[in-house]
């Protein structure tokens, strides 16, 4: 497809606590063997969009590590392929500024965006897990004659309310976008259209709009392009009807993981391949006396204890007599004999010593920071 994919690798704000202290949102582990960015990135690749720019802001070492040259996504290419775009600055004083908003981030990377040959741009965040048919989306964008197509969903997708901070979109009866506001009221009535943060736009128009907004000191795509230009531009909506998980806080993160324990959800999420970094680890080993149920186990794990309703990432060791329930355990963490965990998120490279007990609650899981020894 004649499309440049743009992925914002960071959230402008999130409440992910320790989970995003050392890493950008895009490289947050998910569902055992994946990182958040694998979902939008695989979506692009599955729809034949092989020219993808990832806008990075800070703490993107783990992201670069994960993506490498893009081999696993088949994105090492002479034409297009994967590019990670770190912040750029011309002078030393500019360099100190963080992006003031998504428009600023686009402007800061326009030198690279401009050079690609694609005619259209599809933008997405890395805070959402979904499987969207970008081909149909683009077709509809072209057919409708829209300047911008904003993808929304009306489904709460298991979220109790529209995620707080999400943008609620209003369209008129002809389907033209009118107005938006930030969800602060925890709306849960069905039929509310909220923005997925996925947009389609002609690249040339994006270039113009970004340049204009920057000249006016306007930095936020939703407010300063969608809302401000709703009268001038033909902005239309596209309703996405598939599954969608939104991750912006620890509870949401836990819930998103837990969704993968439902077989219906797994079927939908893995209907098309989700690519991720290959680790060359051995298959999971189960030893005598282990007891595992309703759990995702990744390769390289060694399981001697009990695992229930949990998601275990690659290379995790769970000792004899240990019990892991309702928890998310990230890569290479070691859980020694006799440990009891319930509603816990263990980050990478954690060691939990013999017989420790940690108990959180579904609405407030315990989070153990990367590399901790408990």
């Amino acid at each position: 497809m004649n499309v440049l994919g743009i992925i914002f690798s960071y959230a402008e704000q999130d409440s992910l606590r320790e989970l995003t202290r050392h890493r950008t949102l895009a490289s947050l582990p998910m569902a055992g063997r994946y990182r958040m960015i694998d979902f939008p990135l695989s979506n692009f690749v599955n729809d034949g969009i092989t020219d993808v720019s990832v806008i990075a802001l800070k703490n993107f070492h783990s992201l670069m590590d994960h993506l490498g040259a893009g081999r696993e996504w088949d994105l090492i290419r002479k034409r297009g392929g994967l590019r990670v775009l770190p912040p750029f600055s011309m002078t030393e004083s500019d360099r100190d500024k963080l992006y003031r908003g998504s428009i600023d981030a686009l402007a800061g990377n326009m030198h690279s965006i401009r050079r690609t040959l694609a005619e259209y741009v599809i933008m997405t965040g890395s805070n959402i897990i979904y499987s969207m048919d970008f081909k149909t989306l683009l077709e509809q964008h072209i057919e409708s004659g829209a300047d911008i197509t904003a993808v929304y969903t009306k489904d709460l997708n298991g979220h109790p309310t529209v995620p707080s901070g999400a943008m609620i979109l209003h369209f008129n009866e002809e389907g033209r976008f009118q107005e938006l506001y930030v969800n602060k009221e925890n709306i849960n009535q069905p039929g509310t259209a909220w923005s997925t943060g996925v947009f389609v736009i002609k690249k040339s128009l994006l270039e113009t709009l970004v340049a204009d907004a920057m000249a006016l000191g306007k930095y936020h795509f939703h407010e300063d392009i969608l809302r401000r230009l709703s009268k001038v531009l033909n902005i239309r909506g596209y309703e996405y009807k598939g599954f969608l998980l939104e991750v912006s806080n620890v509870t949401g993160y836990m819930q998103a993981n837990m969704n993968f324990l439902s077989s219906g959800f797994r079927e939908a999420a893995f209907q098309r391949p989700i690519y991720t970094k290959s680790k060359d680890s051995v298959p999971a080993r189960y030893f005598d006396g282990c007891k595992v149920s309703n759990s995702i186990i990744s390769d390289g794990c060694r399981i001697e204890g009990t695992v229930e309703n949990s998601l275990i990432s690659r290379g995790v060791r769970i000792g004899k007599g240990a019990v892991v329930r309702n928890s998310v355990v990230m890569q290479n963490t070691e859980i020694m004999r006799g440990v009891h965990l319930d509603h816990v998120i263990l980050d990478k490279d954690v060691i939990v010593r013999e017989n420790r007990r940690l108990t959180g609650h579904i609405t407030y899981p315990v989070v153990i920071e990367k590399g901790s020894i408990i």
């Binding site: 051995v282 080993r285 282990c290 995702i296 390769d299 695992v307």
Partner: protein, 407 residues
């Protein structure tokens, strides 16, 4: 035109074997492409050994159904063999100005690729086969070869004396210099068996390959012709003793056993060995899911599996499904096998994509006499469907679908 870098040693891997003793498992693939150890293929072992030993140029000689192997090796990337200079090359027979011919024997296969080897002007050439499972540092063997100033160094391993008649046996002096080579001897003088791993000084090998080719009566085989010729000419041939796990997986029984060895902590074939990783082409499947009714013990389970039954002492390759009530024990389930509800699979190798119907029994066995007696391995071929409630006795090879019996 391109700056071509000289390579100290390149490897030539003889992957031609059809492996007919593996029966239905090699109908569609060459033996080196047979799955092993829960996610690997046999050829991953020599390839990974090469890469871990710093050898980055490997010619893979094949003429039997190379398609699967060709697609499997691809650009060589999974083994870090997608090199700009060097890498992995599939080398089939070809036609030249003078016409072409199939590979006649192992030595002839190398002879037909002299030009390939000369492209890299190596000092040494490592000859490997694609039939064995082992982890070995060929670089240490090269140091030994250099130290001995040998023309050829043959890797050997001690085998039980009662099995020497199955191997090529090296008789050596106390310096490990080989003075005699016995092919499958009735009365062996030594229990050092050739592993089929040779390092040759290229100049010497080239000389003997050309001589061998001129001899119209030669079978053009390393073991039968080339090595004996070198001995006759008093070339310095040395044996290099390898001490570790090494297994020829050329029979169903051996393939089953060596897979089971992966589950045995006492057997020194540790696959989870970061400094000596075994690389393989990954399947890119979701992680495995262990459901409500699963019971698993002493087993290795790969990505993409769905387990709701009982698994004991078994190896499950990627994408296997075992439904509720099913029991899999002492078995090897290759990729994408499905074992339906309440089926029982014991002491079996189930090939890729086979479907074991509900309540059927594979490897059924009447526990007649004493425990622990030898139990024959059953095999179900690739993409075979075994209908519900079928009974397949132990030791049976199923090479066609088993239809449902109307009751």
């Amino acid at each position: 035109m391109r700056h071509r870098q000289k390579k100290e040693m390149i490897a030539m891997l003889l992957a031609g074997g059809q492996g007919s003793r593996l029966g239905v498992l090699t109908n569609d693939v060459a033996k080196p492409a047979v799955p092993f150890g829960g996610k690997y293929r046999i050829i991953d072992f020599p390839l990974s050994n090469c890469v871990n030993s710093g050898i980055d140029t490997i010619g893979v000689l094949t003429q039997y159904r190379p398609l699967e192997l060709n697609a499997y090796i691809g650009s060589g990337q999974p083994w870090d063999l997608d090199r700009l200079y060097g890498g992995a090359f599939i080398l089939p027979p070809y036609q030249s100005f003078q016409g072409g011919e199939w590979y006649k024997g192992t030595a002839n296969a190398i002879y037909q690729n002299l030009e390939f080897i000369d492209m890299y002007s190596p000092e040494y050439v490592l000859i490997l086969s694609g039939d064995h499972v082992y982890k070995m540092n060929y670089n240490q063997m090269l140091d030994y070869h250099k130290g001995k100033n040998a023309s050829c160094t043959l890797a050997v391993i001690q085998v039980p004396w009662e099995e020497t008649d199955r191997f090529g046996v090296m008789n050596t002096d106390e310096e490990m210099r080989v003075y005699e080579f016995q092919e499958k001897p009735k009365e062996a003088k030594s229990n050092l068996a050739s592993m089929g791993v040779y390092i040759f000084t290229w100049e010497k090998l080239k000389h003997y390959l050309i001589q061998d080719e001129l001899n119209k009566e030669s079978a053009n085989d390393f073991g039968k012709n080339l090595i004996p010729d070198m001995l006759v000419n008093d070339e310095p041939l040395f044996a290099y003793e390898f001490k570790g796990y090494w297994k020829d997986v050329g029979t169903i029984q051996a393939l089953w056993e060596s897979n089971m060895d992966v589950l045995d902590p006492l057997i020194p074939l540790e696959l989870d060995d970061p400094p000596w990783r075994i690389y393989t082409r990954s399947s890119n499947l979701p992680p495995q899911f262990v459901a409500e009714h699963a019971t698993i013990s002493n087993s290795s389970i790969a990505d993409g599996c769905f387990i709701d039954g009982t698994i004991e002492n078994s190896i499950l390759f990627p994408g296997v499904t075992v439904e509720m009530g099913a029991v899999v024990s002492n078995s090897i389930l290759m990729p994408n096998v499905t074992v339906e509800k309440d089926a029982i699979v014991e002491y079996a190798i189930i090939a890729r994509g086979a479907q074991i119907g509900q309540s059927s029994q594979i490897g059924q066995w009447k526990r007649v006499e004493k425990e622990g007696m030898h139990r024959d391995i059953s095999v179900v071929g690739e993409d075979i469907t075994v209908a519900a409630r079928s009974v397949v006795p132990a030791g049976t090879v199923v090479s066609a679908d088993i239809e449902e019996v109307s009751v």
